[in-house]
């Protein structure tokens, strides 16, 4: 088991979210991160890398039964645990 940023998953590889990095403590503005968890990217969730767009483009992941496009900057903040 290794921990890597979500963006490091190879296409077709599945990992489990361990944490989302960002200083969003209680009461602070945390719009985008709240959005991430609202879309189902909570710790413990299985995500599969479907596709990674070239030139630092977004990634396409499969999570909770649907396809989600995620900007790379955002995806980098998500740490996943993966069996390698």
């Amino acid at each position: 088991m290794v921990e890597v940023p979500l963006t490091d998953l190879r296409e077709g590889e599945t990992g489990i979210i361990t944490s989302i990095k960002a200083g969003f403590g209680h009461g602070k503005r945390w719009g985008l991160l709240k959005r991430l968890v609202d879309m189902g990217l909570t710790p413990g969730t299985k995500v599969t890398m479907v596709k990674s767009a070239p030139l630092n483009g977004p990634v396409e992941i499969y999570v909770r039964g649907y396809r989600l496009a995620l900007g790379r900057g955002m995806a980098k903040r998500i740490t996943v645990e993966v069996q390698r």
Partner: protein, 648 residues
Amino acid sequence: MTEKRLRIALAGNANVGKSVIFNQLTGLHQHIGNWPGKTVEKAEGTLHFRGYTIDVIDLPGIYSLSTFSLEELISREYIAAEKPDLVINVVDASALERNLFFTLQLIELEAPLIMALNQIDMAEKKGIKIDHKKLEEVLGIPVVPTIAVRGKGIYELLNKAIETIEKGVPRANVIKYGVEIEERIEKLIEELKGAQLKYPVRWVAIKLLEGDEQVEREIRKISPRALKLAEKLASEIERIHGHPCPTVITSERYEAAGRIAREVQRILPGIKPLISERIHDLTTHKILGYPIMVLVVLGALQAIFTFGGFTSEILGTLLYSYEPLFESILGLGPLKVIVWGGLMEGLIANITIALPYLIPFYLILYILEDSGYLARAAFLMDTIMHKIGLHGKAFIPIMLGYGCNVPACLGCRIMETERERLLTGFVVTLIPCAARTAVILGLVGSFLGIQWALALYIINLAIVFILGRIAFKMLPGEPTALIMEMPDYKIPHAKTVLKQTWFRLWEFLKISFPLIIASSTIIKLIEMLGFLDSISKALSPITVWWLGLPEITGVILIFGVLRKELTLIMLASLLGTTDFQSILTPLQMFIFALVVMLYIPCVATIAACVREFGWRRALVIALVEILFAILAGGIIYRLMAAFNMLSG
């Protein structure tokens, strides 16, 4: 009660077929407007059923009831404060877990709820079979399976809705969080006891633990102590779990949704990959995706311009054939000039542009959107859009801008935050629309060659990037990121596409018709009163000295505010020839087209900006662009003259 009037709201995620259900329910009895004081679309419709008059409100498509976007705030505010008789939660059966996450929030908000389990055909194609009776049992709310695009289950849904309201909406089963959270929710409920709340107390307690800004603001006024307590309790939960409290609660809610989904659905193995999957792979392909996108966009533009050009000409000829009729009635005096040259020509301009170009434009747009292609284009364009501080979704209004800036401005609503909307709106008004393309091609393209027209587009792109970047740096706010569902490809629903086209067209006409007619009449008046020359003279320091253009262009540029392609027509009529070569030097043509391309959005676009961003911001956008166009025009003129470009 004499009048049996009911209010039913449709709520659900985006791309679940909510608007199709809305259309099936209300037919043409629709009214599309804005939520009071907000630039979020409000779609309402009426239907009559079993002796009731039912108002249906289509709430925006959202994924959660937090405070991420205006749409989310409006939806929960509506459900909690306006208290509709029933909320129909439209759910995509093929992505049940994520949809149930939203359902659970509606239940927590104590909305009177029934569920339309939609797209069960698509789910089955993906090998997902859902036991809707069991789902009904688990959630404690009525569930009606539907296939909205084929009209299946709509009648049953409506029947069930009325039946539920008549019998009294059942209390849904509320999910329980972990004991360490439930204990703290209880404590907060205890603390909030007796307070006047507009939301259900358990929901308020949960939202306080989730750090919901809006709820916090309201509770601060009522019970600062509860707020303090909530902060303390939240940090306790954070200590126990090692994750921020809001994440913990959202996690548990999602776990509950997942548990329910697994309980009621069966996944059948061995389903062969669908065609829609293959199209998806192809259209988001690392390499192939881009040429496909270029083909789609060019193909769409080609179709729009071919159809538009052809129809526009026929309509134009037809309408202009009425000029003698006006002459015979009004004579040749000033009355005819005003009525025909102002009023009627304004009207003709609207008709010859709006109908031939905008109808195919919107049709193609909504086909692309409904099918799911636009989400793929946004995915492909994310990297480039990030360079100007936006994300992939902004590509959609920008692409619209090449057709017409008005729908593009209105299209900025797909951006999530206020800041992103404004930024996208600014960028969009700089995009050369069809009218500006007509000037660029008609002047520069045909007299200087296509390479110079292309040069203008490249300069434009560079300017868009530079100004976009500057605006992005100047506007404070959070960075943005693409977080976008990519729905499965599907065949667009014809009736919904047609209806969307019709309403958009109507919206456009409402904005542009009165404005263009009024302003073309005013300008005609000014012309008749003989002020044209003095205006041109007054502007000559800018036009002649700074931009190196003939004096007459001053007044043309002013007219251009009406419609950009008018500048070319006026240039011809004021100069008395369409052989622009004989009057303008190549450099003058280039600079003129450049200034026309940049200097100000047309009146209709300004009006659209006012609607979306308010007077002040629309004015700032217009002023910035005028100043910038003059500045850029003069500098490029001097540079090109210094390097002897286009001097032959």
